[in-house]
Symmetry: C2
Subunit: 339 residues, 2 copies
């Protein structure tokens, strides 16, 4: 069973195992620097479906089926699936996974959802509440833009701090520690984040809204464990982009925590910012999910990365809350993965 | 640690304890048959806030603080809070709980959310992943109506199968089994539900959309445990209302499972259908949460109910999915509570 270390961190003693993973993305993501690592790249933004929302559901469905296939498991081998997305009432997850007949626990952590689903799934497998679980999330540029910002047809101009919602899904199969084989990746520890809100109101600057939560969760984790950034090969934030990444490093430096040598951000990795016109970088649940469930897993399995702190970051606003004058709260959850 | 029984059920061996509970409701709910059992009834639909959404956040905040108070605990004693609601991006939870500084895990199970949060919180406390947790959810008639159906000013006519979204929040503090004292209520077992979809498309008939999922989860539970309806004092569904309750009993009778002697539904309990013009009954996350966290808890603590199967039911649709021609998937999660 898990051991609490300090106030906010859980050490997993049995250490759940990543049995399979997969990432399915859109055209722009496939053309980015990590294109070769994704399992499936779709050129059609609708994936042959009639709407973008249904296309996003399909991204999630395909990612789960591919991850199950790599794990050598079937849907009936999975005890529960933890899934979420950015759409109202999490319909990408609901409709994408409806046919799988797996006990379904919908999660909402905005863009922190991959870390949240992976972390909760790990607690379930560690504790014996489940033998095999799946964690999955997705986002889609077109379904997100029209829900959160403007109709795409409007062609609204984007500000320099804006980020590009990735059309992507990532899924992981997390299995019971009893099944661990040589060379597999394990989940070692977790920290669940508290909501932070420093009063940022600019919905086109999510990186700034989320950076304080990432700083808080990371500070909590280092405080609880006594570790420092140098103990890890990479500290991987979800989708802070360039603005949020700079802010995160600045905030942490106030506490003399220097992550600059090991920090990277999925939002800065998924696109080539010089060529792909994504302004401050990528974002969306699917951004960190797809980067983690492709390039990062591969680097770990090939021995190039051993100790990875994955820090999913989410902005917990809605268009309604912004219209009502609210600021943008952030949250960040941390998962320590080891190869 | 929990033991899996059959394919879908978890028996909790240590048995987490309900340390505190509270329900905060609106005027109509306060005037209903359970009015005297709620901790707080608000006559103002906005609770003094500027919008209904902010009022709903406040319902949730008050319910948590009251439940913590009854448990004799502070926010800093809670290791994580599991919260969700019906609003887009779960903003009632986010903004209502933002100031509590408790690690936050957003949940989306539509109206099944009280069962989902309680069940996951129980797995966390049972396994030692948390010592004290909180499960909370809310709904608000006005914020839900305008988001899911029509502007209130429009005065749209409601169909006979329609249900009335409760303005209500319910919260529970779930504590480590080590703290159990004489006479406390414990969480004994859980079943997480699979998504069902029999093709219902009428968004004004949620009871019909959710009944098959309730039937499936209950059938799974009886199959896994070998129990029958007679083993329980009450089988309490969340918000099936009159139409869904009748359908649930009919569906179960096809498998020769007769729950008629012990079945009740929070949606049928919270209002007086003869006097309060709620058509098929109450609904919303807050409906089952408030009934469970008031009247049911009190009946259990007073020795009038011993064994309660609480079955939260959710309709996993959105206005967008319905506009795109989709049917309404349902899900139901089960928690067995014992006094």
């Amino acid at each position: 069973m898990p051991t609490r270390i300090g106030k906010y961190t859980l050490e997993l003693n049995k250490k759940p195992v990543i049995l399979g993973y997969a990432a399915v993305v859109g055209k722009k993501e496939g053309e980015g620097p990590l294109g070769e690592y994704f399992d499936q790249c779709h050129n059609d933004t609708k994936l042959g479906e009639s709407t973008w929302e249904k296309a996003e559901s399909r991204l999630q469905n395909e990612a789960v089926l591919l991850a199950l296939n790599k794990a050598g498991l079937k849907n009936t081998d999975i005890d529960c699936i933890f899934a979420g997305d950015l759409l109202n009432q999490c319909i990408s997850s609901t409709f994408g996974l409806r046919g799988l007949n797996i006990p379904f626990l919908g999660q909402y952590g905005a863009c922190s959802t991959m870390a949240q689903t992976l972390a909760i799934a790990s607690v379930f497998t560690e504790s014996g509440a489940a033998e095999n679980t799946v964690a999955v999330t997705s986002s889609h540029f077109c379904s997100a833009e029209r829900q959160f910002r403007f109709p795409l047809e409007y062609g609204g101009q984007r500000t320099p701090t804006a980020q590009w919602t990735a059309t992507a899904a990532g899924a992981m199969v997390i299995g019971s520690p009893e099944k661990k084989q040589e060379g597999q990746i394990t989940v070692e520890a977790l920290s669940f984040g508290r909501i932070t809100d420093l009063g940022i109101k600019d919905a086109a600057n999510m990186g700034a809204a989320m950076a304080p939560s990432a700083a808080q969760t990371l500070t909590d984790y280092f405080h609880d464990t006594g570790d420092s950034p140098a103990d890890y090969d990479v500290i991987l934030t979800g989708d802070l982009g360039q603005v949020g990444s700079n802010l995160l490093q600045q905030i942490l430096m106030k506490d003399s925590i220097d992550i600059s040598a090991v920090h990277n951000d999925c939002g800065l990795m998924i696109y080539d910012r010089k060529k792909q016109d994504v302004h401050a970088g990528g974002s969306g649940c699917g951004c960190s999910a797809a980067v983690l469930c492709s390039y990062i897993m591969r680097q770990m399995l090939e021995g190039k990365l051993h100790k990875v702190l994955f820090l999913g970051t989410g902005a917990l606003m809605s268009p309604t809350s912004s219209q009502q004058g609210e600021s943008i709260p952030g949250v960040a959850h941390l998962v320590y993965l080891k190869a």
